[in-house]
Symmetry: C2
Subunit: 205 residues, 2 copies
């Protein structure tokens, strides 16, 4: 693309660095901002910069937080001995939305992915293992997505916990509520049969 | 969505003001920026602010430009008496990419759209009519998209030019090169038959 303005080109270049935003979309977004009042661009720039420079991570669970200890970790109504291991804040938000979980979280900040240069040391695995060794935790629930990277990360943490007195569990995989059996993939369907539960416990939900 | 951080919420709110960016996508983009080096966020914010505060519009064609008179209007190699009327800079870039046009442009900045509160006075129609009345222009080529709003705008300008000694034309509508006739819509196919051209002239391109 040939731009008539260096300023425009620069803005499009920076915008198209974002994931899933190509140069055409970036141009559309930038031209939209140009048509809006200046206050909108100022507010967007300020919000992004403020977030980047002032963001804090909870010292206990590593979730994004405005305070030193996040609301969930600081709450007195949560089971502090149960910790759910998730990838990032989006997973925390998804689980919180279910209102089914009363324990704490541990945000890893990613999954082990050698292809993208993410090793165990870039994640917050060490602090999780330390919490377990200190006897703070009774149960660790693995809730990473069941991909190659997720399974690798789960297994790595599991090995690190060898000899530590802590229960580990993983969230149930199975057919989604409301889904038709005939369209389910074989792995999921197979697992849902292997890991069947007593009928009476399904009535509780 | 319930955020654990006001800073994050603010950034997501601002990002989701952009067209086609929902709150989930906004969260994904913002979390991506959080993982990247701070320089990327600084560069993005700076580029957007610089564009908004320092952008200039060519005083002749109203296209986005870094200078008072844009490169196209200032060039000695263009036919200054032919002016192509387009909606915005993207159309200029699309036509320039064809390398088929040697005239100048006139960027309207939008189309007449009462539903969105865009009337003729918000567009640069008056300056176009003045250029025509001053005798600077021999031919005006309408190249707005053929929607209700585009046709309305074309017709409004056409009426404003009554009594002015200027030729008006509109870009050809027809079947795209490489398209199959059977899949073309009826209006386009109909027009392409009505507006057929001598076979010899098709050999020139």
């Amino acid at each position: 693309m040939d731009f008539s303005s260096k300023l425009l080109e620069e803005a499009v270049n920076e915008m198209s660095q974002l994931p899933g935003i190509g140069r055409r979309t970036a141009l559309r977004l930038v031209l939209h901002l140009l048509k809006q009042p200046e206050s909108q661009t100022v507010a967007l720039s300020k919000a992004l910069l403020d977030l980047k420079t002032e963001v804090k991570f909870c010292r206990k669970c590593h979730n994004i937080s405005d305070t030193d200890l996040c609301e969930i970790c600081a709450s007195h109504n949560r089971q502090k001995e149960v910790v759910c291991v998730v990838e990032d804040i989006r997973d925390v938000m998804a689980i919180e939305n279910t209102s089914q979980y009363r324990g704490l979280y541990h945000v890893l900040g990613g999954k082990i992915n050698p292809m993208e240069g993410v090793g165990p040391s870039q994640l917050t695995i060490r602090s999780l293992v330390e919490k377990a060794k200190n006897g703070e935790i009774e149960e660790i629930i693995f809730a990473l997505s069941s991909t190659l990277e997720g399974d690798t990360t789960n297994f790595y943490i599991f090995k690190q916990l060898e000899g530590v007195n802590v229960k580990t569990s993983t969230i149930a995989r199975g057919i989604s509520v409301g889904d038709e059996l005939e369209y389910a993939d074989e792995v999921t369907l197979g697992r849902s049969i292997t890991n069947r539960i007593p009928f009476e416990s399904s009535l509780r939900n």
